[in-house]
């Protein structure tokens, strides 16, 4: 199986240069023209703000005394900033616990839906996906209400049946409570990506496997999972980026648990607070750049280890 996919992905690559050489002269002018709108937008909407942020991060503007050029001072300060380090470590912990759980759930749902054994598969599929359609702000407000320690439904049910319900908004539970909200929101999204990938697996493979005597589990393990690898990689990368940028959920839960979620609870929240509460835009820019760097490194590490496992 792995040999087949490897061959099929290599084929077009080998054919590529030949085709390009053939078509080169004819499409010479049209190519850049087609790409131009993208490049203009890319330049305006991505590179320019990025460059501006980089530029900002080299200065220090103070309420008294104006703006001075400080070189890399902001970066040096940010690297030494315990609040930033704590925020990054916190989201890293969040990533390690929440992402595998969420992807595992998404994978199980995708496999179950793809197995064709479920009744009402479409309804279930939609049901799992619907939370993704709920804006994260709304989702967080809703969960915030459900978590309520006195009058939240969980607490009330617990009281009614004499069960001990944990204080979801306390220091010890907050990360799990956030993980629950994020999982609820994104399982469906990841499930759809995985499910779509599963649908592209040729039916013949299943037939061949069945003829070789493979059961449903064996097919899932030997055919479906390997076929899902690129899609899983994609969801994993999205999750790295999403986790490290964790913002909406803690920002909103801050209102109901201000003693647990402080202004530097996650790195992204910290950058926001620096810019908009402390008016330290320049330092916030440096913090954001460092956060971006952390995400790049993490993504690379994840990709690298996953690829190594694949080749070994």
């Amino acid at each position: 199986m792995t040999a087949t996919t490897a061959a099929s992905t290599e084929d077009p690559r080998r054919a590529g240069p030949k085709r390009r050489r053939l078509g080169g002269p004819r499409h010479g002018a049209a190519g850049p023209l087609f790409v131009a709108p993208f490049m203009v937008l890319f330049l305006l909407m991505f590179l320019t703000p990025l460059g501006y942020a980089a530029y900002l991060s080299l200065f220090q503007e103070r309420l008294i005394g104006g703006t001075t050029f400080v070189g890399l001072d902001n970066y040096v300060a940010a690297l030494k900033d315990p609040l930033l380090a704590e925020g990054v470590l916190r989201v890293a912990a969040f990533f390690v616990i929440q992402v595998p759980l969420m992807l595992l759930l998404a994978l199980l749902f995708a496999l179950a839906l793809d197995s064709g054994l479920l009744r009402l598969a479409r309804v279930i599929r939609l049901g799992i996906f619907v939370p993704y359609a709920v804006p994260s702000v709304v989702a967080t407000l809703m969960w915030g209400y459900l978590y309520g320690p006195d009058f939240g439904p969980f607490a009330q049910l617990g009281e009614k049946f004499g069960l001990p319900v944990p204080h979801f908004l306390s220091d010890g539970w907050m990360l799990s409570s956030l993980a629950n909200v994020v999982t609820w929101e994104f399982v469906g999204y990841n499930m759809i990506i995985l499910y779509a990938a599963l649908r592209t697996v040729p039916k013949e493979l299943y037939e061949a496997a069945a003829m070789d005597g493979a059961g449903a589990w064996r097919i899932a393990r030997s055919i479906k999972l390997p076929a899902l690898r690129p899609a899983l990689m994609l969801t994993l990368l999205f999750s790295v980026i999403g986790s490290f940028q964790l913002f909406n959920e803690p920002k909103l839960l801050q209102d109901i648990a201000p003693d647990v979620i402080d202004s530097s609870y996650t790195a992204n929240l910290y950058a926001y607070s620096l810019a908009f509460t402390g008016q330290q835009v320049n330092y916030a820019a440096a913090v954001s750049f460092l956060l971006g760097l952390v995400i790049v490194i993490f993504s690379y590490v994840v990709l690298f280890t996953a690829n190594r496992r694949r080749t070994s």
Binding site: Y145, F151, Q254, D255, T277
Partner: protein, 462 residues
Amino acid sequence: MHRASFTPDTSQMSRRLFLTAAGAVSLGAALTACGGSDGGSASTAKPAGQADIDKAMKTPTELTFWTWVPDIKQEIALFEKKYPAIKVKVVNAGQGVDHYTKLRTAIKAGEGAPDVVQMEYQAIPTFTITDSLLDLSPYGASKLKDTFVDWTWGQVSGPKGEIWAIPQDTGPMGMLYRADIFDKHGIEPPKTWDDFAAAARKLHKADPDVYLTNLAANEAAAWHGLLWQAGAKPYATSGKSDVSINVDDAVSKKLAAYWGGLAQEGVIGVEPDFTDAWFSALNKGKYATWITAAWGPVFLSGSAKSTAGKWRAAPLPQWDAAKPSSGNWGGSTSAVIKATENPIAAAVFAQFLNSDPESAKLFSTKQSFFPATKPLLTDPSFAGDTSAFYGGQKVNQLFAEIGETVSPDFQWPPFLDQAVTDWTETVGTSLARKKDTVAALDAWQTRLTTYAKKQGFSVQAP
């Protein structure tokens, strides 16, 4: 909405009106000083002459006004009727931190800032430090001094006689309490904070599900109001870059020991306010009092409908019963952005909006704002209003009387947002977690001092 906002959601308040206008009452001509009918008496340099003002008010102009006040069109219509050449475009740019963040960004960008802007009292120094507000004294604002409640005028005035904004509404603090719960447990409305503490212990002991009050661990504004009442001077600025920060002085420590002690004993609540749980708690009688401001009565009557008729209002308990005092929580003003191209029209508009008797009255009837003008506070149709929610009590009159005991000397720091965040993460957290609140004051002091120094201020030692 992000709750770094310093005042409660006023749009919510206004939806819950209980004030009814008991007929229009003429307030006399005392308030029509807007625009400077006899010009030129302003104390600061280059006052705008009456001729200039007349000319500007007849020139077709469009003013942009950022405000979160709902239905303010009615007040604006009055202005446009008097000055048909001027059109006012209303923009709702959000509320609280959102509003100020957008404003700061627009001012910095040099484009897109409004001419006139809604601004809470405590935010004024944060914008004067960046030199963003227009001094209104050359445009006749000085003459309005006697129209407004004394302490509000202190809040909008600068050290050199500048007038940075025109007061719109206020929030002198008082106490709303559940008469039925008090009666049931034989508790008298506490006159002093000592009585209050005793009542808190007594009530919670008698009924462990009920607390005398809730001191919200996220409400820096309420804390500042209580500091104000206790006579603390947490912030002071002299000159532009000299600031003194005394958030851990003796008065503050007394306050921290008191509230921190009650929180640690577990006889008061410390949950965040304006949340689902908190609304529910007020409805279900978990708290027997709400320490709030003059906008609180209307707000509560809309938010805790199931408890109608059971509430009463009283002044805050006192530290010294012989010298009653109170603090302020909330309320806002209209300020003019310095970069405006129409300073005269903008200044006249800000003044008219808040001092014209008819317009000011609309705020108190249509938006249920607690007035900042003296004539309105004594107006029988306002002060004499009774509310069934408060058992027929004249709540407005009570808060009007409380307003006279608010000290005019309280100052705000030029970096309010930071002060609020730091309070929540030190003092507020200590309350919520039942830790040492007095020690948390020191942490607050340290954090704020460090911040101020980093921002280039020279911080005076306390």
